[in-house]
Amino acid sequence: MTPFHIVVCGSLVPDPLQTLEPTLGPEGPGLKNEMMLPSVLDPWAGHALYEAASLATKHPESRVWLVSLGPKARLQQLMMSIAQKAKFELVAIDSSASGFIDAQSVARTLATAIDEIDGLDKNRLLLFGGCASASRDAGVTVQMVGELLGLTDQFLAVDELEARDDGSLRVLERIEGGKYLASTVRGAPAVVAWATGKLPEPPNNPQVGMQNMRTILPALQKAKAAIPNRNSIHYQEVAIPQQKRETRVVKDMSVDEIAREIADWIRG
């Protein structure tokens, strides 16, 4: 079996249970108290990481790198919560993780960082990431990184990847109407932007955490700072539209009446 060199692009996003409030300053939009908001690993990138770790265990001598672009101090916090989940080597880039920064600027920084990874064999490269982030949610970054690295086999919103004995990879991508497009690529290199995948979140494994910490701390120390390009997009307005509804709470209708009212509403 061929070992893979899997590079997962993934960073932090605000915890989805937090209330977010936009601000518009001279530097462009941001979030109120952005640096204080609790954050989590971007969910779809998380699935990509777990799939990468699982694939690597099935293909001995494979390596997994997690390339993360975000404010260094917050990346360090994030590592506390994910280091025990999957084995990886961290490549950290100290920059803003704001969803308002142009994806292409982020993609260029990521591509450069990946190019510079010591020991990365591009012929074995599987570029992983989430199919969209929970911040910018544009669904474009991983493909751009792939294109910048010259990878012409790309898959988006993947739920299943099967690495076959002959080196080929069979991939299922989500398409319209709850269906999948099935394709087979002859082998690495390829770009795989994951949707949910098939694996549950792995339980914490302290041993994995200890191993990871050996590379995480130095990686954070030598994280290069990248200045995002904030000039390509000009924001005129960012707002949370007023969305609160006047909810009618129906407590004392019989089941028959409720069903009739809903049926009329459906038909109406």
Binding site: G139, V140, Q143, E176, S183, I240, V250, I262, I266
Partner: protein
């Protein structure tokens, strides 16, 4: 003056998907009454008849890349074809529909043509002629909306489904000018390492996702929880839900908690998979109406309802999230009883 190029592809049946007409509608908004240069570019296998369907859209020219290699959706060949169209037209603005095929390839196209790209566009403000074009989209998974512009060109605007009025107009034969991205022998080995084997239905067996349905029916974790009698009733829940979907011709959505149960090995509704999940880490479907059942209405779930216009919920808990300004009506009742009765009324 802008030069607008609308990029389209045909689907497996050889037709333009509905969202193609919406992208065309969006592009027409940019034309300032017809002053801009306006071209159409279509890729696919046999594209002549699809081009004819939009013959009356007022485009100044129609270009196409037709090749058996484009009968399937594949990054390498799609990128080569779209790149050739862009090179031919040299547009400043490119408008395209957010299909799964284009969502995969257009970011790479932006890199290759040295352009900019924005996706999930829900509204375009063309401004007065000569003014900046503004676009709108959501950030942080449908939690806030921004209006923005870009100076650099070419600028690719990928429009979301259901956000623009579809173009309607005369069909008519068009002088389709074919463009070839490849030399005589067709696409090379470097772009055909991927072989597409076809479309498969989701693992849930029954096709429950119907993007065109008026109604979205969302099942929450309550359906698989212990009920008043201290027992779970998963098979009954499944029967009621499938019956309702059939009777109401609804599409089936789910909360994360319910679909996650399958990976956690609990008794599950076999009609559901992660593809049904609505919310922060699921989909944001567009339907006129939505009925949430046994679902608490927590924020990470409800952000997926952004484009569901009328919302009702059935929940045993009068204080569930839906009651806090997220639904129009919350019926405090047992969903098993309500859906059973509803199915009678719907003739299931």
């Amino acid at each position: 003056m802008e030069t607008i190029l609308v990029l389209l592809h045909i689907d497996e049946s050889g037709n333009l998907p509905r969202i193609a007409f919406e992208a065309l509608g969006a592009a027409c908004e940019l034309r300032h009454g017809g002053n801009a240069n306006f071209a159409i570019g279509i890729i696919g296998g046999d594209i002549e008849s699809a081009a004819g369907k939009i013959g009356g859209c007022g485009a100044t020219s129609f270009f196409g890349v037709s090749h058996p290699a484009l009968e399937v959706s594949r990054y390498g060949t799609d990128l080569a074809a779209l790149g050739a169209l862009v090179e031919k037209v040299a547009p400043t603005l490119i408008v395209a529909p957010s299909t799964s095929r284009f969502a995969r390839v257009l970011p790479g196209l932006a890199v290759r043509i040295g352009g900019q790209i924005d996706t999930h566009i829900t509204s375009i403000d063309p401004g007065a002629e000569g003014d900046a074009v503004f676009a709108e989209r959501w950030y942080y998974r449908q939690r806030m909306k921004a209006k923005f512009t870009r100076d650099a060109r070419p600028w690719i605007l990928v429009v979301d489904g259901g956000a623009f009025e579809p173009w309607k107009g005369e069909t008519g034969s068009v002088a389709l000018q074919m463009v070839s991205p490849w030399a005589e022998g067709g696409p090379g080995d470097n772009v055909t390492r991927t072989q597409v084997s076809g479309i498969e239905t989701g693992e849930s067996g029954t096709q429950t996702i119907r993007p065109d349905a008026d109604l979205l029916f969302v099942a929450g974790a309550g359906w698989a929880k212990k009920q008043a009698d201290g027992q779970t009733h998963v098979p009954k829940a499944e029967k009621l839900i499938l019956g309702f979907l059939e009777g109401a011709k609804a599409s089936l959505g789910s909360s994360k908690s319910l679909v996650d149960q399958s990976s956690e090995g609990q008794a599950v509704l076999t009609c559901l998979s992660h593809l049904n999940q609505v919310g922060q880490t699921g989909t944001t479907p567009r339907h006129q109406k939505g009925l949430a059942t046994c679902c608490h209405g927590e924020e990470p779930h409800v952000v997926g309802w952004r484009f569901v216009q009328e919302r009702r919920a059935v929940n045993l808990d009068a204080n569930c999230g839906w009651a806090r300004g997220k639904a129009d009506v919350v019926y405090v009742a047992d969903a098993f009883e309500v859906v059973e009765k509803l199915n009678d009324l719907l003739g299931v």
